[in-house]
Amino acid sequence: MIQLQELHIGYQRELLRTEHLFLAAGKVYALVGRNGIGKSTLIQTMAGLQKQLAGEITINGQSVSSLNPQEIAETISLVDTRFEGVEFLKVKDYLALGRAPYTDLFGRLGVKDWQMVESVASDLSIIHLLDKFTDEISDGERQLCAVGRAFVQETPVILLDEPTAFLDYINRKKLLALLKLLSAEKNKCIVLSTHDLDLCLDHSIPFLLAAHGEIRIHASLSKEEIIQAMS
């Protein structure tokens, strides 16, 4: 599904490079690596927000840099580390923004759009938050909402930048299980950056390991091996 072809990413200086990597549909990948190694940069680059220094990212054979904003919105959704909340913006309206690529000029939502919002909210167990304002719920709840908005967007690729950072242990476990289920059921390719090695190992999620300026895929590594590779 996603191919990273001899990709070099970074700003003025190169941070990370890959050889030829292939990320399959129907799978979840955990992007791990130490602070500042360039995980967020990779995610931003994959979402088309940041230009790569060299190489190419393709999704189903199409180069990401050739997609227009509308095509990107229909292909990739991104969950940022932090969603600050917006005054007087209700959770349900925030989730419904995920339908924006599919609504008309005035952004009117149909019955199906609202059904989508409801079913995602029930998957994430945030139904009780729907009528609350996004700036009046907790950081963890907001993070679940941000994930929900990406689900509502219904894209084949979902990128999540440390989605578990503010979540409690139970919600972390739930979220990972849900991501796995979703990727398998709807044949999505999901990449999340995380520091939760144990949780990923529990769910036997393959690692995208960023270390020493390079990203490699490791399907089965023990915790000790990963830590050693990172340091």
Partner: protein, 331 residues
């Protein structure tokens, strides 16, 4: 807040607007019967003082209160959403200053182009738009909401310094006309100009409804909005142009009117408890218009004893409200 209470609130505003308009029309010093209002439209008699008064003074002033109130509030709302900053507005961000600077140039220098009616409006629009672009460029480099306001403030001081220099060179006559303009007044438009002005404002308000979806997306930040398929750069330009249109026109016709553009959008948001721009646009038009109608009616009532500049009243009400907002949001 439920949807029905939003609709109820809009219904109340809809009822209150004609009342405010009526109060404004009746607030003048000379009493005029209701009948002569209609007659001045349908059976206009140029020899009848009441008719002339209505047509040349009351109606233009009423229309400008409506348009300036709605337009300034809308442009404030647009700025606040675009900059994701509740304290943005055409006045604090220097959009007005840009227009004022060019108007000062046109009133106090002898450059021929500026003297024409078209020149005055055109230059005000150019000034407003340029200031908007400048602020946009600065905003890209700033992280903090406060710094942007400080830059706007500095820009305002800078332009007013240039204006003072112009004033020191200006002749008595042009100095007077500039000073009169800078106090802000809704009484400077003639009946004949109203058609043209209403047309522009109605088009502007209609155009802002085209922005409902983009504005609702911008609420969660430019980056997230872009990833939802919003063409950020063109939307930014569209929003800026619309803001400059409202703020520039109003500044050209009515002088600088402070604080309406920052206070009313916040008041609307707090009253409506929503971030949906479909309602916010309507709310801002109504609340802004009602606010300026009542303010100006108050000025008219006192007019035989003192003539208070409009700008002074809006600042006296607006400035404490903005301080209240600061304490509420930023602490």
């Amino acid at each position: 807040m439920k949807d029905w209470s939003l609709k109820w609130m809009m219904f109340c505003l809809l009822c209150f607007l004609p009342i405010a308009m009526y109060l404004h029309l009746m607030a003048g010093q000379i009493e005029i019967s209701f009948a002569s209002f209609f007659d001045s439209f349908w059976n206009y008699d140029a020899k009848n003082t009441a008719h002339v008064l209505v047509r040349e003074f009351r109606i233009p002033r009423l229309a400008m209160a409506l348009f300036a109130g709605a337009g300034l509030s809308l442009s404030g709302m647009l700025m606040q959403t675009l900059f994701k900053n509740p304290l943005a507005g055409p006045y604090v961000l220097g959009i007005n200053s840009g227009a004022s600077l060019l108007i000062a140039l046109s009133l106090m220098t002898s450059i021929r182009f500026f003297q024409s009616n078209f020149g005055l409006i055109g230059t005000a629009l150019i000034g407003a738009f340029t200031a908007g672009l400048l602020m946009m460029a600065v905003a890209q480099r700033l992280k903090s909401q406060i710094s942007l306001l400080l830059v706007g403030l500095m820009f305002g001081s800078f332009t007013s310094a240039i204006v003072s220099i112009l004033e020191s060179f200006a002749g008595a006559e042009s100095l007077k006309s500039y000073t009169m303009w800078s106090m802000g007044s809704l009484q400077q438009v003639e009946f004949g100009q109203l058609g043209f002005i209403s047309l522009i404002f109605l088009v502007g308000i209609a155009a802002s409804f085209l922005l409902v979806k983009p504005l609702n997306m911008l609420v969660i930040g430019e980056k997230s909005a872009a990833l939802l398929g919003l063409p950020i750069k063109s939307i930014r330009m569209f929003v800026l142009m619309l803001t400059a249109l409202f703020a520039g026109l109003i500044t050209a016709f009515c002088g600088p009117i402070a604080f309406v553009g920052i206070a009313i959008p916040n008041l609307t948001r707090i009253l409506f408890q929503t971030s949906n721009h479909r309602y916010l646009i309507i709310g801002n038009c109504f609340i802004g218009a009602i606010f300026l109608l009542l303010t100006d009616a108050f000025i008219q009532v006192l007019e035989d004893q003192f003539s208070i500049p409009l700008n002074a009243i809006t600042s006296i009400i607006g400035a404490p409200f903005v301080v209240f907002l600061l304490m509420r949001k930023l602490r």
